[in-house]
Symmetry: C2
Subunit: 150 residues, 2 copies
């Protein structure tokens, strides 16, 4: 089944979050949360900026949402969610996860599956190029390895 | 194999964190992180206090630790970790998770297992009683259900 074009438009907003993080010296991973195709929360990886290991892009976006029910929301994230973020999406029971790419990092889609969270992987060239370009700098690659606990 | 007594002493510090959260109107779940049996970070569930859904006890404790490697650390948590927190402990590769109890909430030990994180469940009466007493108040039970995304 073809992926509906609006998913790419909303992913562009997540990419803009990632670009904002790069400009701050942070990691290039962004996220937006939507309800009825409208953005209700945004965030990007803020590990470096706040010296806070838990602030992956999706986590920063969940924080921004406040104390809501997530059952009717969709999470857009530029990069396949790690085990922490996938576990959070499973716990909070988002209705759908839309993933920019899982080429540069496979992530934990199996945790989404375990919790019955549907997901779409856009395999989006924009997300792939952003991550590859950023990681080609050895200092950035070290930041990335720290981000995933290595 | 008998559980070494110092684990109960360090769990008491996690319980003290949980008690501090109760006094603030928050959820009764606390955590401490240790290296060489010394506490290097502490935290408690801060969801209500900061209106931030990601701040479970373990997450608050990881935040407190800063940008360190967790490979030689031990996480003590009063309650069995949910999928988000277990996913975080797996990602950051703590050397051991010590769990106060999993009677009132089973949590996601399977995610710890999947990442090869050893764990000990103390089945600690102090943790069990704290959670049961607190949840016997219907308003608190509603807070708890929100905490696990229901």
């Amino acid at each position: 089944m073809a992926i509906e074009p609006f998913h790419y438009d909303l992913m562009l907003e997540a990419i803009r979050e990632a670009e904002a993080s790069i400009a701050q010296g942070g990691l290039p991973i962004g996220a937006v949360l939507t309800r009825d195709r409208k953005i209700i929360a945004r965030g990007h990886n803020n590990r470096v900026q706040e010296k806070n290991v838990i602030l992956h892009g999706e986590m920063s976006c969940l924080r921004d949402a406040g104390l809501i029910s997530f059952h009717d929301t969709v999470m857009y994230t530029t990069l396949s969610p790690c085990s922490m973020c996938a576990g959070a999406l499973g716990l909070f029971k988002v209705s759908l996860a839309v993933i920019g790419e899982s080429v540069t990092f496979p992530g934990s889609k199996d945790i989404l599956d375990k919790f019955g969270i549907p997901w779409i992987d856009l395999a989006d060239d924009r997300s792939i190029a952003m991550m590859k370009t950023w990681r080609s700098n050895p200092a950035n690659e070290r930041l990335w390895q720290g981000d995933i606990g290595n």
